[in-house]
């Protein structure tokens, strides 16, 4: 990493406007003079994120202007609206300078919206970015068929530097509110089963039919388009398979869909019984993602299956309201005989992150901006904040925060004015550690993470003898080489089949779950028959081809 910093200060970079370039002091400035306040730059950015745009008076926005002369114009699209937005953008052919996306189908790359990055990286002007992608370039530019090698985006998460540390768990789990566990006298959470999970919820709901004046909801299912995996993914996890999307992959690396298999049937039968018993929210299937988040944020929902990051906004708002007992602990129920594999080793997001668009008039500046953001000084600003204001450096060089600084970091309003969360969501990051041994973010710094916990949360940890939320999950086995199958890029046809499968689920599963238990077999058969009509093989073959390719090429 230090090599990267030296590269930054070298004179190798061509200066666009040498006579005008006044480089401000400090290590946040661009020593190459490409981005300076004397030569202001406006970059248009398009970002896929559930985070809000920063407030107008944002502190870091000001830092960007003072040190780099960069003004960002944001267009922020929420993940459930992103599909059509990408379609419209591609059809129009006009793009902002920076495209930050979570496009699983790689349409932006295939559609020619993004610049080839290799040639630009070879100039040596962008040392931080070059270091960032160096080891994984093969994995990143790999796509199956349509994308050229060398064409990729800069991954936003899970490119690790130094040691992997972490406190919070963001992956998939069956979540349960802390107050439910407290009420049940902190029951043993190992060897969790679906039955025990629902028993916990049922007994609590029976005792507390109301939460703050609204009816308590036992279990929420999110079936909103684009997020329907909340409803469709659990069977694989329950069967002890890691999150591979719509397929389970056996020991011989052969993938097969599970939507119509027994592991799925068993889960939906349980849900059907629980719906009948009044535990599953009757409004589940009409909720949009926003309504779902809002409902979780009221604290009335006792449990749901979801990925931790998906309901982050709700958790944040519960925490900033001081309602820690309404936040969630991850549980990992499995079928008899299965070993839980909910938590996996963090996998680099090869198809999420930032790229430079082909219609950008200033690709060098846009690249330089990304490169600078990836430098350690800026990473610290983006993730920890400003030294002295948002954190202190101890005598041992470790970063710490005061109680007030921690409270600020939990406060949504404060964050809108002091952090660039939407941008940071898609920016490449130093996940892991900085060269000085500090973790990338306060949440990953073990001492700081534990200190961040409220008294209530610390109490929960003590009850279970754990130090982090991650420890509530299974130890993470080594990932299979191809892993994960959900980000394999598919052909148009396979995508279409995949969509048909998703649609079949979205249409049938709610009926199966919400139907009379006496009709369960009939509804299930109707669902399986629907799947039989779909050309599932096209999809399975594409996934298997992808897996084989990855096994050979990664």
């Amino acid at each position: 990493m230090s090599a990267g910093l030296v590269g930054c200060t070298s004179d190798g970079a061509p200066e666009e406007d040498p006579k005008d370039a006044v480089i401000p002091a400090g290590d946040l400035a661009d020593q190459s003079g490409t981005l300076t306040p004397s030569n202001p730059t406006t970059l248009t950015t398009w970002i896929t994120s559930a985070q809000q745009a920063p407030a107008p008076d944002n502190k870091i926005t000001k830092l960007l202007e003072e040190n780099l002369g960069v003004t960002l114009k944001y267009e922020i699209v929420t993940p459930d609206a992103v599909d059509q937005k990408i379609g419209v953008m591609l059809a129009g052919g006009e793009y902002p300078d920076l495209i930050g996306t979570t496009d699983l189908k790689m349409r932006l790359l295939e559609g020619g919206a993004l610049l080839r990055l290799d040639d630009m990286l070879e100039t040596g002007d962008y040392p931080n970015l070059a270091t960032h992608v160096e080891d994984d370039i093969k994995k990143m530019s790999y796509s199956g068929e349509e994308v050229d090698p060398g064409l990729y985006i800069f991954p936003n998460y899970n490119r690790f530097y130094g040691e992997v540390t972490g406190g919070t768990y963001y992956g998939p789990a069956f979540w349960i509110q802390k107050r439910v566990l407290e009420d049940a006298g902190w029951p043993d959470l190992s060897n969790m089963t679906l039955d025990r999970y629902f028993e916990l919820i049922a007994s609590y709901k029976a005792k507390n039919p109301q939460t703050d004046g609204v009816p308590t909801v036992g279990f929420e299912v999110l079936a909103s388009t684009g997020r329907e995996w909340g409803m469709t993914n659990p069977p694989a996890l329950l069967a002890g398979s890691p999150n591979n999307g719509g397929v389970v992959v056996d020991d011989d690396d052969h993938a097969e869909i599970y939507a119509d298999k027994d592991i799925a049937k068993d889960f939906y039968q349980v849900l059907n019984e629980q719906y009948d018993a009044g535990l599953v929210d009757r409004e589940s299937f009409t909720l949009t993602f926003d309504q779902y988040t809002a409902k979780l944020a009221t604290g009335a929902v006792l449990g749901m299956h979801d990925q931790g990051w998906n309901f982050q906004t709700a958790t944040d708002s519960l925490r900033s309201a001081g309602k820690d007992e309404y936040t969630y602990v991850p549980l990992m129920p499995v079928y008899d005989g299965a070993e839980p594999w909910y938590a996996d080793r963090p996998v680099m997001n090869t198809n999420q992150g930032f790229g430079i668009s082909v219609s950008s008039k200033q690709p060098e500046k846009a690249m330089k901006f990304l490169d600078l953001m990836l430098s350690e000084p800026w990473q610290k600003v983006l993730s920890w904040g400003v030294e002295g204001e948002d954190y202190q450096v101890g005598e041992d060089g470790m970063f710490t925060r005061t109680e007030e600084q921690r409270a600020n970091a939990r406060d949504l309003t404060w964050r809108a004015s002091n952090r660039l969360e939407a941008l940071l969501d898609v920016l490449p990051k130093h996940n892991g550690q900085f060269s000085d041994g500090n973790a990338y973010s306060p949440d990953d710094q073990p001492a700081e993470f534990f200190a961040t916990l409220t008294d209530y949360d610390r109490g929960v940890m003590e009850q279970y003898g754990k130090k982090t939320w991650l420890e509530f999950m299974n130890p993470q086995p080594e990932n299979p080489k191809y892993y994960p199958a959900w980000n394999i890029t598919l052909s148009d046809e396979a995508n279409e089949v995949n969509q048909q499968l998703t649609d079949a689920g979205v249409q049938n599963l709610p009926k199966i779950i919400a139907g009379d238990p006496a009709d369960f077999e009939a509804s299930w058969k109707a669902y399986v028959d629907t799947i039989k009509k779909i050309d599932v093989e096209v999809y399975e073959d594409a996934i298997n081809a992808g897996i084989q390719d990855r096994l050979e090429n990664w």
Binding site: G112, A223, T225, R282, D535
Partner: protein, 350 residues
Amino acid sequence: MTDTTVTTLVAATGLEPAPEPVSGSRAPRRRARTRAPKEPRRKITWDRIKAQRVLLLMAVPLLMYQILFKYVPVYGWAIAFQDYKPGRGSIWNQEWVGFENFVDLFTGVNGERFRRVVINTVGQSVLTLVVGTLGAIVLALLLNEVKNAPFKRVMQNITYMPHFLSWVIVASLASVALSLPSSGGFINQALLSVGLVQEPVLFLTEPNHFWGIVAGTSLWKELGWNTILYLAAITAIDPSLYEAAEVDGAGRYRKMFHITLPGIRPTIVVLLIINAGWILSTNFELPYFLGNGLISERAETIDVFVLRYGYQLGNYDLAVVAGIFKTLVAIILVGSANWAAKRLNQETLV
């Protein structure tokens, strides 16, 4: 909108046959616009063109607009016969696949789904159109009977306000109104309190309710707005007709049925035909915002299908094929409305 403008323009230039001689002082004014059945077309001479050059010039921008925005883009239909990929540059630089996309859309799993989608589109549209038109006529008749002017004005304002709300807002209002009482569903609350239902109904999980919900929501939004035109038409009815009827001993209802309704009949027909044309392009928002997986068999319309299977999957060719088909459905709808009007010997547009 433009169609009516053209008609007015044509009427103003005098290309329409001159009004037939007035047969009596009581002849309703609408006769003035009726086309005489067999009159031969007048020749277009150079003099006539010269005499009307200003008017014709005024029509040019409109014509350009129509050509530029309605006819030129039709070249994009070429995509329907291609395996379209946005990265390849021009749309002529694509791989041609013949009718493959059509076969794909009309057969197999897609075909079954698409048939349903077409039925939903037409069903929702027709229901919305019929309910909307009937509602507007009834409200116009009722408002016309109100003699208290301030009350009438307030009523009219209240009913046409929702027209200015965007569909997104209307859809979320509707979804709240239709939800459980605990989430603010006042419709359920009302039904429960008058004892019409024993348990709250989850309207948005019941496929068979959806067309009704769409029609009802559109009715709420557009009722007052649509009424304005009918009220205007009613004011154009010759008051002497009412006086004569009153002399003959007609009561309030007789006058309504025998004077007001026939008086606005041409307006009704023309509006029906116009609405039949654009109604297909308006049934995207509600199905999109209110629809969910559970009811998609009744909710999904062509536009939603195009969005989900076309644009979202990057499958532009399929989207275009579906779009072409939608155009055909729209033409058929307008055509049949026009044909029906002709058969009833009414005013027609084309």
